[in-house]
């Protein structure tokens, strides 16, 4: 088990975010949640995350715009979690700097396994 990682979950639906929190915490990591771009910027500046799980459609804009400022704030790895399961969206996320793109809902077990992998890589 690597050191505990800090995972920032950027997700505007609180019922989805609470499920993600349970999953990531059950993998032994620390979780911060943010419901908007503004929230995420604030959270990352005071406490940068090792891994950011990024929803694409946020109330104040496209989640991908967060990658640059969050990286500058010290966040290391970005994973897109999207409702769009098309190749064009995937390509767009990878081009913006995401290390991986997953389509929601990610099966619970798979998410736990992946978080462990990312935490180790980040």
């Amino acid at each position: 088990m690597p050191d505990q990682a800090h995972i920032l979950v950027v997700e505007d639906s609180d019922i989805v975010a609470s499920a993600m929190r349970v999953l990531v915490e059950s993998a032994g990591h620390r979780v911060t949640t943010a419901a908007s771009i503004a929230d995420a910027l604030g959270a990352a500046r005071s406490d940068p995350a090792d891994v950011v799980l990024l929803d694409l459609t946020l109330p104040d804009g496209d989640g991908l715009v967060l990658i640059e400022p969050l990286r500058a704030a010290g966040c290391r790895m970005f994973i897109a979690l999207t409702g769009h399961d098309d190749q064009a969206t995937r390509d767009r996320c990878l081009a913006a700097g995401c290390a991986d793109v997953l389509v929601k809902p990610v099966p619970a077990r798979e998410l736990i396994a992946r978080v462990a992998g990312w935490a180790e890589m980040s």
Binding site: I15, A88, K104
Partner: protein, 278 residues
């Protein structure tokens, strides 16, 4: 005078010059044009609504499924066997709903011309095997015999792999749905026998209930089902073939069926081996 009466009247004695009937016709025509434009706009709005609502439905469904999987996987503690059964019910119902919502979303995007091709190069056999793998549990459950055949020398295809997978998935899903237990279903790909020979032809066939010739066009229309009564044995959105046709046509191909009632069905579609990159 109604619109048809005016038109009939006009046919009987052609209007000319400052005939007052001409003015009436002109204004009727203008009204009709405005009405058509309004209907088109309303139709586009409804399609957009369908796309938005089906996309938005994914979020609460994601919450339902993920929370239920947390329970199923024992992350919050062990469940009794009966609790487990309930939770599994929630998950499989949620996943079914998610699939149907996904189909409606694809349909609405197609109708609004919001689907773009992302071509890559791949072997058609891989897709045939992938789709049959996904359907294996159902095929086993119904004791169907499935065969996969790639005839002769088929070069790799440049197309939108996801969409080709979707087309074959919908066709095979139907073949399984409409074939009684113990029947045969097959997937077959070959270079199209007719010109142009730079075209691939894929067949999805079954020995099932078949389709009467008078329904061969109908089934490709949106929401159309041969048996649309609420008590029908098969449930679904009636969008599977509409989506398949849309995705085939996006590739510049054609889709059709050869079938008779009670004698099984053979669905065919063609796609060019190369997609012009855009």
């Amino acid at each position: 005078m109604s619109r048809t009466e005016i038109a009939d009247e006009a046919r009987r004695s052609p209007v000319s010059g400052d005939d007052p009937r001409l003015a009436a016709l002109e204004s009727q025509l203008k009204e009709a044009i405005v009405e058509i434009a309004e209907l088109r706009a309303r139709d586009a709005l409804k399609t957009q609504f369908l796309a938005n609502i089906s996309h938005d439905l994914r979020t609460p469904l994601t919450a339902v499924i993920t929370h239920a999987e947390i329970l199923r996987d024992g992350i919050l503690g062990d469940l009794s066997p009966r609790q487990m059964e309930s939770v599994r019910g929630i998950i499989s119902g949620g996943r079914q709903l998610l699939n149907q919502v996904g189909e409606i979303l694809t349909y609405a995007r197609g109708a609004a011309n919001q689907l773009a091709l992302v071509p890559t190069r791949f072997a058609i056999r891989e897709v045939l095997e992938q789709v049959s793998g996904i359907n294996e549990p159902l095929i086993k459950k119904k004791h169907l015999a499935l065969s996969i055949e790639v005839v002769g020398d088929v070069p790799p295809l440049t197309a939108d792999r996801e969409k080709i997978t979707h087309i074959i998935g919908n066709l095979l899903g139907n073949a399984i749905d409409f074939t009684p237990n113990g029947g045969r279903v097959w997937l077959r790909a070959e270079r199209y026998a007719q010109r142009p020979d730079d075209t691939l032809c894929v067949e999805v066939g079954d020995t099932g209930v078949g389709i009467a010739p008078e329904h061969h066009d109908l089934i490709f229309r949106e929401f159309a089902q041969v048996d649309a009564t609420p008590s029908r044995p098969h449930h679904g959105t009636g969008l599977g073939l509409t989506i398949a046709r849309k995705l085939v046509e996006l590739h510049g191909g054609r889709i059709w069926v050869e079938s008779e009632l009670g004698r099984g069905s053979r669905f065919f579609f063609t796609v060019p081996l190369e997609q012009a990159a855009d």
